[in-house]
C-alpha cells in the first residue's frame, strides 16, 4: 500500500504530464475538424522523431545535474557531414552513417572530459560546443546541400503501414528503439542509477565510491551520440544538410525534458516523461497550425500561453497531491 503510494508520488509529475497531454489532444479534437485522427497523433511522432532522440540523451544529462546546449548544432553538423560526404564525396551510406554518428559521440566525449577533468561548468563547455559545431558546419559549406541518394530517399519516404490506413516512418521506429534502450539503462543498469545518484549529490556519490568521473564522461558521450543519431534522422527528414538546421533546438529539447517532469537541478526524472514532453510541444505546434488564423506574433504568444497553462496546471496537480501525500 504505502509502497504503491510512494511510487505514485515519485512518478507524479510524469502522470500529471500524461493526463495533461491527453487533455490538450482532446481539446484540439473538439476544436478542429480532422484533428481527432490516428494519423494526426502518429504525425506527432513522425515530425518529432529527432526531438525524441535528443530529448532522451538530454534527460540523462539533466538528471545528472548537467546540461547540454550543443545538441541542436550537432544535428546541423551531422546533417552537413552526411550530406557532403554522400553528395560531394560520393561515399556509400554504410561509411557515411557510422562517420556521422561518430561526430556527435566524439564531441560529447570531449565535452564530458573537459567537464570532468578540468571541472568546468557544463553550461559553458557545451555552449562552446554549440558554437563550434555550428561554426564547423558553416565551414563545410554555407549553402544547403540537397541529398539525392536512393538509400536516404528510401529512409525518408518509406511508410510503415499501420491498421486503419495510418502509417509511421522508419525514423519513428529508430526513435522508439532508443527510448526503449534508454528506459532500460535508466531503470535497471548500474550506470543509470549512478546517474541519478550524481544528480542527487555528486559529493555523496563520490564518497559512496561510485565511478563519478567515468559516468559523467559517459553521460555526455551518450548525449552526443543521441544528438548525431537525431542528426541523421533529421537528415532523412529533410533530405538535406544545412548549417542553419535545428537552430535553437537545444532549448526545445530542454523544455521538453523539463516539461516531462525532470528536475533541472538533477536527481529526478524519467525518459518516458521526456517523450511525453516532446509530444506536448508537438501538440502545441499542431494546435497552432490547425488554428490557421494566427499571425506570426500571435503564434509566438499562443505558444507561450499554452506552455504557461500547461506548466502551471502541472505544478498545481503536483502540489495538490504532495499535500495529500503528507496527510495520508
Amino acid at each position: 500500500m504505502i509502497n504503491r503510494l510512494s511510487l505514485d508520488y515519485k512518478q507524479l509529475p510524469l502522470i500529471a504530464t500524461i493526463s495533461l497531454f491527453v487533455l490538450m489532444f482532446s481539446f484540439g479534437s473538439v476544436r478542429y475538424t480532422g484533428f481527432f485522427s490516428a494519423q494526426v497523433f502518429l504525425n506527432l511522432f513522425i515530425d518529432n522523431a529527432f526531438l525524441i532522440v535528443i530529448a532522451v540523451g538530454m534527460t540523462f544529462v539533466i538528471i545528472s545535474g548537467g546540461i547540454d546546449l550543443s545538441v541542436g548544432s550537432v544535428i546541423a553538423l551531422t546533417s552537413m557531414v552526411a550530406a557532403s560526404l554522400t553528395m560531394s564525396a560520393q561515399w556509400s551510406p554504410f561509411i557515411v552513417i557510422p562517420i556521422s554518428l561518430l561526430i556527435g559521440t566524439v564531441l560529447g566525449l570531449v565535452q564530458g572530459s573537459l567537464i570532468h577533468f578540468y571541472n568546468l561548468q557544463p553550461f559553458i563547455v557545451t555552449l562552446a560546443g554549440m558554437f563550434l559545431a555550428r561554426g564547423l558546419s558553416y565551414v563545410i559549406s554555407v549553402e544547403t546541400i540537397a541529398i539525392d541518394h536512393p538509400f536516404f530517399s528510401y529512409m525518408a519516404s518509406t511508410r510503415i503501414p499501420l491498421p486503419g490506413d495510418t502509417f509511421i516512418s522508419i525514423s519513428v521506429i529508430i526513435a522508439l528503439i532508443i527510448v526503449a534502450i534508454a528506459v532500460f539503462i535508466g531503470h535497471s543498469t548500474k550506470f543509470g542509477r549512478t546517474v541519478y545518484a550524481i544528480g542527487g549529490s555528486e559529493q555523496s556519490a563520490m564518497l559512496m565510491g561510485l565511478p563519478v568521473g567515468k559516468t559523467k564522461v559517459l553521460i555526455y558521450t551518450f548525449s552526443g551520440f543521441c544528438a548525431s543519431l537525431a542528426g541523421l534522422i533529421f537528415t532523412f527528414y529533410m533530405l538535406s544538410g544545412y548549417g542553419l538546421h535545428a537552430n535553437g533546438m537545444e532549448l526545445d529539447t530542454i523544455a521538453a525534458v523539463v516539461i516531462g517532469g525532470t528536475l533541472l537541478t538533477g536527481g529526478a526524472g524519467y525518459v518516458a516523461g521526456s517523450v511525453v514532453g516532446v509530444l506536448i510541444l508537438g501538440v502545441i505546434q499542431t494546435i497552432i497550425v490547425f488554428e490557421g488564423t494566427l499571425s506570426s506574433w500571435w503564434t509566438k504568444i499562443a505558444i507561450g500561453v499554452l506552455l504557461l497553462l500547461f506548466i502551471v496546471l502541472q505544478r498545481v496537480i503536483v502540489l495538490r497531491s504532495e499535500k495529500k501525500q503528507g496527510n495520508q
Binding site: R31, T33, Y242, G243, V289, G292, L294
Partner: protein, 329 residues
C-alpha cells in the same frame, strides 16, 4: 482578442467541413473546380524576420481573402521542420491548394510528394525549392536573388564607369547560409569580378538587421576608414544601420561612400530622399494578387510555366522623392 479569433475560426471550421468534403471527391478524380469557386488555401510562411516578409505576408493574406477564398495561415518561425509540419497538417486538413515560401530550397521532397499523392497543388512563393521532379509543384512565383545581385553590380559598374580605380567595396552579408545572402553575393561578384578596378576589401554578416549592420559598419570604418568607396548591403535595413554608423564616423553617406541596398523598403526611400543612399534594388513582396490569379487560373485548368518572375525594378536617389509617398511597406 484570442477568444475573438477563436469564435470566428469556429465559424470557419463549419465551412471547412463542407469545402473539404467536396474537395475530397475532387481529389479522387483530378477534376479542377470551375471558376469563382471558393477555395481553401493553406499558406505556410517562413516567419516574420523582416519588414519585407511582413509586407509579403500581408499582401498574400489579403489577396486570398479579397478573392473570397478561405485562408489557412501558418508561420514557421524560420524553422524548416515547422514548415514541413504545417504542410503535413494542411494535407490532413484536405485544403484545396498549398502556398508556401520555403525556408530553404532543400529538403521538401518527401512532404511535397505527400501533397502530390493527396492531389493538392502546391504553389511556391518568393523562394524556389531544388527538387529534381518538378511535377511536385505547379509554379514558382518569386524574385531572382542572383539577378538582384547582378542589378546591383551593373548599377555600380555604370555609376563608376568614368572613375578610375581602385574602387574599394565593403559588403554587408545577410544571415550566413540564407538563400538571399548567398545569391545576392554571387550575382554581385559575378558582375564585378571581371573588372579589376573593383575590390571587395571587407565582407561580414550583419544578419539582415539594422543593429548588426551598424555595428559591423563601425568596425569596417575603424579599420578601413576613408578608403571605403562603396557599401553593398544585402538588404536595406542593414544599409540604414550602416548609414547611421557612417554619419557618426563623420563621413557623408551617399557621397563619400556610395550605398547600394536591396528590397526597396520605405526606409530606404526616406534615406535616398535625404540623399544618404544611392540606390535600392527592388525585391517586391507585394505579389499576392498575382499569386492568387495564378492559383485561380490553375483551377480553371490552365497550364502555367514553372517559373514566373515578379515584376521588379530598381530605384535611385532622384526617383525617391516622388515615389516615397506611394510606398506602402
Amino acid at each position: 482578442s484570442t477568444d475573438e479569433s477563436g469564435s470566428n475560426s469556429d465559424a470557419e471550421n463549419n465551412e471547412t467541413e463542407e469545402t473539404s468534403d467536396e474537395n475530397a471527391e475532387q481529389s479522387e478524380s483530378e477534376t479542377t473546380g470551375e471558376a469563382g469557386e471558393k477555395l481553401v488555401i493553406g499558406f505556410s510562411q517562413v516567419g516574420a524576420e523582416s519588414e519585407w516578409r511582413t509586407a509579403n505576408t500581408k499582401s498574400i493574406q489579403n489577396a486570398i481573402k479579397d478573392a473570397g477564398h478561405e485562408l489557412k495561415f501558418s508561420d514557421a518561425q524560420q524553422k524548416q521542420e515547422n514548415q514541413i509540419k504545417a504542410i503535413r497538417s494542411f494535407i490532413t486538413q484536405k485544403v484545396d491548394a498549398i502556398v508556401f515560401s520555403p525556408v530553404v530550397e532543400t529538403g521538401f521532397e518527401t512532404v511535397l510528394q505527400e501533397a502530390k499523392d493527396a492531389g493538392i497543388p502546391v504553389f511556391l512563393a518568393d523562394r524556389a525549392v531544388d527538387v529534381e521532379d518538378d511535377s511536385l509543384w505547379v509554379t514558382f512565383l518569386g524574385s531572382d536573388f542572383v539577378e538582384e545581385g547582378r542589378k546591383a553590380g551593373r548599377w555600380l559598374v555604370e555609376e563608376m564607369s568614368d572613375q578610375e580605380g581602385p574602387v574599394n567595396i565593403v559588403e554587408l552579408q545577410g544571415t550566413v547560409g540564407s538563400a538571399p545572402a548567398i545569391d545576392r553575393k554571387e550575382g554581385f561578384e559575378e558582375i564585378i569580378s571581371g573588372k579589376d578596378k573593383f575590390e571587395i576589401i571587407k565582407s561580414q554578416t550583419g544578419d539582415f538587421t539594422r543593429a548588426k549592420g551598424k555595428e559591423v559598419m563601425e568596425a569596417f570604418l575603424k579599420s578601413e576608414g576613408e578608403n571605403i568607396d562603396v557599401l553593398y548591403s544585402h538588404n536595406d535595413d542593414m544599409a540604414i544601420g550602416a548609414i547611421q554608423a557612417i554619419e557618426e564616423y563623420g563621413l557623408k553617406p551617399g557621397e563619400d561612400i556610395k550605398i547600394i541596398g536591396v528590397d526597396a523598403v520605405k526606409g530606404a526611400f526616406e534615406a535616398m530622399a535625404a540623399g544618404k543612399m544611392n540606390v535600392t534594388i527592388e525585391c517586391n513582396p507585394l505579389f499576392g494578387p498575382q499569386l492568387v490569379d495564378l492559383i485561380e487560373r490553375h483551377f480553371e485548368g490552365e497550364e502555367l510555366d514553372k517559373r514566373i518572375a515578379v515584376e521588379e525594378s530598381m530605384y535611385t536617389m532622384d526617383q525617391a522623392e516622388e515615389l516615397l509617398p506611394t510606398r506602402e511597406y
